[in-house]
């Protein structure tokens, strides 16, 4: 079975072979997945600031750089380089991370990045993809490679059982009258199970792309319900998209419940991703409890 990472590697290698604009910049992680003999494949060693700086220079010279590493080292460590070397230089690049919020929690907090999307959210002009299935990676990435804009793609080991259409705003997977649940990327299967287990009469929207935020899609979904109650379930920092829901519904009295990786604690436990899901109430039990309490009455 293909993982998201494998789909990413295959798509980028196809791009390298067919498009002279495509370049790859890595800092050791995954570098052996790309043809090092190709001059458009650059590994800078364990130097993440320079990884982004070099990508900026390649973009300034007319190339389309793909920048890749583990999420904390791709986003958090060189954040100022992302802000200035990419954004402020007004160049494009495709950033692709692995590791997500806590894909490998045995490695501890140093390898966890629940704040990555929130960090990109501080910067203008970024498209953010959070695919929930390997088959969603390829079409999103192929489009990103063709374009010239700034794209962040967040890959994860956790995925849904089936892919859904991507690239056209939120997808409605279930219709209901009591409110709307927006499930982002790998959260979808758990959200659907939680909604089913609670027999909740809610609309479920699915998003593999969260920036730009499909405000029209959310507005339309809300119009078809009896209550303007919106729950957003994101696999990263809770509340990351709250401001956009509020902005979307600013003229309509509404309730909002934001669910994601909790902000309140420096979690020092190792264990499994499932352990961490439970700790953040992102498992089916926790989500069911949230659905039950929020959509009560």
């Amino acid at each position: 079975m293909t993982t998201m990472r494998q789909a990413f590697v295959r798509t980028v290698n196809d791009g390298i072979a067919t498009d002279q604009r495509i370049a790859v910049v890595t800092a050791v992680i995954s570098s052996n997945e790309f043809p090092q003999e190709n001059e458009r494949v650059v590994d800078v060693g364990i130097r993440e600031q320079t990884m982004v700086g070099v990508a900026s220079g390649l973009a300034l010279a007319g190339l389309r750089p793909v920048v890749h590493s583990y999420a904390p080292f791709l986003v958090e460590r060189p954040y100022e380089q992302i802000k200035l070397d990419i954004g402020h230089q007004d160049v494009g690049a495709v950033f692709v991370s692995i590791g997500a919020s806590y894909d490998d929690p045995v490695w501890g907090r140093t390898h966890q990045s629940p704040g990555d999307v929130a960090l990109f959210d501080t910067l203008p002009g970024w498209t953010v993809h959070v695919p929930g299935h390997p088959d969603e990676v390829t079409p999103l990435l192929e489009q990103a490679l063709k374009d010239d804009d700034r794209v962040y793609m967040r890959l994860s080991l956790h995925e849904n059982t089936q892919a859904h259409p991507v690239g056209r705003g939120f997808t409605t997977l279930r219709h209901g009258k009591r409110g709307v649940v927006l499930a982002v990327g790998p959260m979808l299967d758990r959200v659907l199970k939680a909604v089913e287990s609670e027999n909740a009469d809610v609309t479920v929207l699915y998003a593999a792309t969260v920036r730009p935020f499909d405000s029209d899609g959310l507005r339309k979904a809300v119009r078809d319900t009896d209550h303007v109650d919106v729950m957003v379930v994101e696999p990263y920092l809770e509340g990351t998209s709250s401001h956009l829901v509020s902005e979307t519904l600013q003229h309509i009295p509404h309730r909002l419940r934001s669910i994601g990786v909790k902000r309140h604690a420096e979690l020092r436990n190792y264990g499994t991703a499932e352990d961490h899901d439970a700790a953040h109430d992102l498992d089916v039990v926790g989500l069911g409890s949230a659905v039950r309490s929020f959509f009560r009455g």
């Binding site: 320079t50 982004v52 010279a61 200035l84 230089q89 007004d90």
Partner: protein, 220 residues
């Protein structure tokens, strides 16, 4: 060069960085007058030489040279740093013709320059990349990532000009040139006020990344 003081004088209010601007003026002049293969007409030519002012502080000298060489209108100097002016205390490539990178936060230009030089090489461009950094700026760790990786990647079309006005907090024991040389760069040390010496150093052949340390008087 003789009009530079006059152009300089049209910009006021930069007392904080005036010394820094002055420290780079001779290097900038020699680069734009004698070394760089770029003109206002070729500012977007893929085969142009690219000059990256990493040390974005004190850009008065940069703007004065760009004005003298026709990249920007002289009149824009008069209201620099105002709301409507494209010229700020740190240059913005989106706003100023001929400016290759937006800079100001230290330690960004050299890594970007490694990338532009590699990009020029990939695309078969005849262009070279020159980047100006300050000795104080070299305190930023990102520079040392780039210094190390540039020679490993064989970026021979890259020249780093280090304007050394001895503003690094703890200095560079053994000298700045040695820091580059140990990573495999070709190096030269030159009087940063001597135009003939600068020209000779900046046009010297090199088959690996090249660092020219331009020494000027200590900043006050």
């Amino acid at each position: 060069m003789q009009r530079i003081p006059e152009l300089f004088a049209r910009m006021t209010g930069d007392e904080k960085h005036e010394w820094a601007a002055a420290s780079t003026i001779d290097v900038l002049w020699v680069l734009y007058d004698k070394v760089l293969n770029v003109t206002p007409d070729t500012a977007d030519d893929p085969d142009r030489d690219r000059f990256l002012l990493s040390k974005g502080h004190g850009p008065m000298a940069y703007y004065a040279v760009l004005a003298e060489k026709g990249f920007i209108e002289e009149s824009t100097l008069d209201n620099w740093t105002s709301w409507d002016s494209p010229l700020g205390q740190h240059p913005d490539r989106v706003l100023v013709n001929g400016v290759e990178i937006s800079s100001g936060s230290l330690g960004h230009g050299l890594p970007i320059a490694v990338g532009t030089a590699i990009g020029q090489r990939i695309s078969g461009s005849r262009g070279r990349t020159f980047v100006l950094v300050g000795d104080g700026e070299l305190d930023e760790g990102s520079n040392h990532e780039a210094i190390a990786v540039a020679s490993r990647l064989g970026v021979a079309n890259l020249t780093a000009v280090v304007v050394d006005n001895r503003s690094a907090m703890y200095g560079w024991p053994g000298g700045i040139a040695r820091r580059f040389a140990v990573e495999g760069w070709q190096t030269a040390e030159v009087d940063g006020r001597d135009h003939e010496a600068l020209l000779a150093a900046l046009t010297a052949p090199h088959d690996r990344p090249y660092a020219v340390v331009a020494e000027v008087e200590k900043s006050c």
